[in-house]
């Protein structure tokens, strides 16, 4: 009763007329900082592209080498995010449900890809998967070449996207009420049926969010990929690298045009992710 009152009270006491000072100062500083650091520079990309005519722009962003790079970037990102979705769910499940020695250490290590600089990840993965590398020397005789092929791109993107799904699914799994599963078991469901019909639907929004986050991150990734990719035009050249290549040739217009395509895609993904997270929040407050 008192809890309910507290919330309804909160709801009605809208903070628009808050007695706390500093709204104008804080909002002003926030907007100024965001504008100077983020918004104005980002708008530069769009304004710069406007110098191109529409056919010029179109020809630049649909040149065969650019299209090949999209295909690689999106394909590898999609594959990496998919692998991360399934294994991320598994890892989150194991971390939340099962006790095992060294669990806290493993839990802490999950965030390594966030903390490790991408260039370090890049050269290390190359050292592992190169023909004479730690794993490469065993894979090569089997006819599996990872480094300097699209497979290398996939490996690097899997590494950097690994924490996203784990970290979005983990809290949702922790919050699932034991009673739900007990109820399912008492109604005669097998463990697999309980997972399939009770647990999986509950974590699905979080899983999708994690997938989208990993995918979005992978598309823009640069540092960890360029060392292991081999960067062969039309084969293993990712889109961000193409931007740098054009920049080094002083083709600013070309670089910016491709950057604008990537920005638009990022914004769309951001929008989707926001919608997904909104859905996750709505579900959790309903429960």
């Amino acid at each position: 009763m008192s809890n309910h009152k507290y919330h309804s009270g909160k709801h009605h006491s809208g903070k628009r007329h808050s007695v706390l000072p500093g709204f104008n100062l804080a909002l002003g500083f926030t907007l100024l900082y965001l504008s100077l650091i983020v918004l104005i520079p980002l708008s530069a990309a769009f304004i710069h592209t406007a110098q191109l005519t529409w056919p010029e722009f179109w020809n630049t962003v649909t040149a065969p080498r650019v299209v090949a790079s999209y295909r690689l970037t999106f394909g590898a990102s999609l594959a990496a995010a998919t692998v991360n979705a399934w294994f991320g769910l598994l890892v989150a499940w194991v971390l939340v449900r099962y006790p095992f020695p060294g669990k806290r250490l493993v839990d802490a290590l999950i965030d390594l890809p966030f903390a490790l600089p991408t260039s370090v990840a890049g050269i290390t993965l190359t050292a592992i998967y190169a023909g004479n590398g730690w794993l490469g020397q065993y894979l090569e005789p089997l006819g599996i070449r990872v480094a300097f092929t699209p497979a290398g791109v996939f490996v690097a993107l899997t590494f950097i996207g690994l924490p996203f799904v784990v970290r979005t699914v983990q809290p949702v799994l922790e919050d699932i009420e034991k009673e739900l599963e007990e109820a399912a078991a008492m109604l005669g469901a097998t463990r697999w049926q309980t997972f399939r019909y009770i647990i999986f639907p509950a974590v699905l929004p979080a899983l999708t969010t994690g997938f989208a986050l990993a995918f979005a991150r992978a598309i823009g990734e640069y540092g960890s990929v360029i060392f292991i990719a081999g960067n062969i035009p039309m084969v293993s050249e990712i889109t961000p690298l193409l931007i740098i290549t054009k920049l080094e040739q002083y083709d600013y217009a070309g670089a910016t045009a491709i950057a604008v395509v990537m920005l638009v895609i990022s914004f769309i993904l951001l929008l989707i992710i926001n919608l997904l997270q909104w859905q996750v929040r709505r579900r959790s407050t309903k429960a």
């Binding site: 008192s2 009152k5 507290y6 009270g9 009605h12 006491s13 007329h17």
Partner: protein, 361 residues
């Protein structure tokens, strides 16, 4: 300090939190704002404090318009429902905060602060907790510290938002009596918000009953309980039985029961509702020659000196079951048992013409 509220209104979107409120708070009194959730009582308290601004209307402290005065200059003491103790400070520092943040010249010296805080902690009987942190205290202790902190700045008025709302029943009772006593000692104008009618009746000098942003009645506990101004107040304060009947030319009928209704001499066969408190219902084994309503005992609760009877009316004059309270002695005298038939008669009732739903809105 006197507080006067004139024509105060406040809207949150489509929701009317306060609708043209007028109220005078007398100096030194302990006033309760009583009402259900969403009745606007907390909003009114926050507007008085200056935590919320009104859309229109005025708040006057000692006849001086304070509507646009900054909260710092209003000299109000405010006790939050969830106490809002500073979790990173000790109890001592919490109480001392209001003194320490004063601008240079008005700030008391360290010795003075120490003395003042110690006095206040003694007043709330918690001086032994000075070095603890809020999370180490029980709910009741936090409540008293919140009060000491509010008093430290020597406010002209003390405002308490659901002061006992977050406490369990036993602590709540103890603190109620304690707060009443503290108020009697200090005689500071105080307003507290509550949704608990028992709390308001027990502690307050006067009660303001609120509903849907409006004031339904202002009066002493005795007045609002014994002479409710309207059906809402009747139903909100204490248990009440409801009978459907008719009024006609100064008389009312509930079933066969006829009672005088001198307030309605002009009424021509009007629908009416009668409200009767459980302790105003007389229970008899037989008719005694007087008109009464027949009822059957459905349930008996005989714990303590008062026995509560749940009765099913046999004349369909009451939609719900009827509750009656009689003394244990009377209960033994009548030798009542579940399933017995009895005859009931209101000793006192209040009539409100119209249908219940009309009367309530």
């Amino acid at each position: 300090m006197t507080i006067e509220i004139r024509n105060l209104s406040r809207q949150f979107g489509a929701f009317t939190a306060l609708n043209n409120i007028n109220l005078k708070v007398r100096p030194g009194e302990l006033l309760a704002l009583l009402g259900p959730s969403g009745s606007g009582k907390t909003t009114l308290l926050r507007v008085i404090a200056g935590l919320e601004t009104a859309d229109s209307g005025q708040v006057l402290f000692n006849q001086e318009d304070s509507t646009d005065k900054h909260i710092r200059d209003r000299h109000v003491g405010f006790v939050f429902q969830h106490y809002a103790l500073f979790r990173n400070m000790t109890i001592f520092d919490n109480v001392a905060f209001g003194l320490r943040v004063r601008p240079g010249k008005q700030r008391p010296g360290n010795r003075e602060i120490h003395q003042r805080v110690t006095e206040l902690l003694q007043l709330v009987q918690l001086d032994w907790l000075a070095d603890r942190y809020p999370h180490q205290l029980s709910g009741g202790q936090r409540q008293r510290i919140a009060l000491a902190r509010a008093l430290a700045v020597e406010p002209g008025v003390l405002l308490l938002d659901e002061p006992f709302g977050a406490l369990d029943a036993k602590v709540r009772k103890e603190l109620r009596a304690w707060l009443r006593k503290l108020h009697d000692d200090m005689h500071m104008t105080s307003i507290f918000v509550t949704h608990d009618q028992e709390e308001a009746l027990e502690v307050a000098d006067r009660i303001v009953v609120m509903n849907r942003g409006c004031i339904e009645q202002i009066g002493t506990p005795d007045e609002v309980y014994e002479k409710p101004a309207n059906p809402f107040v009747y139903e909100f304060l204490g248990h009440v039985n409801l009978f459907h009947g008719r009024v006609h030319q100064g008389h009312a009928w509930i079933g066969d029961l006829e009672v005088d209704a001198p307030e309605y001499p002009e009424a021509e066969d009007l629908n009416a509702i009668a409200y009767v408190r459980p302790h105003d219902i007389e229970v008899n084994r037989t008719l005694n020659g007087e008109p009464a309503l027949a009822a059957r005992i459905v349930h008996i609760l005989a714990i303590g000196p008062i026995v509560r009877l749940e009765l099913a009316g046999q004349d369909n004059q009451s939609a719900d079951n009827i509750y009656a309270e009689i003394s244990k002695a009377r209960f033994r005298e009548l030798r009542l048992a579940k399933g017995d038939q009895v005859f009931i008669k209101p000793r006192r009732l209040d009539l409100f013409p119209g249908d219940r739903h009309l009367a309530l809105s």
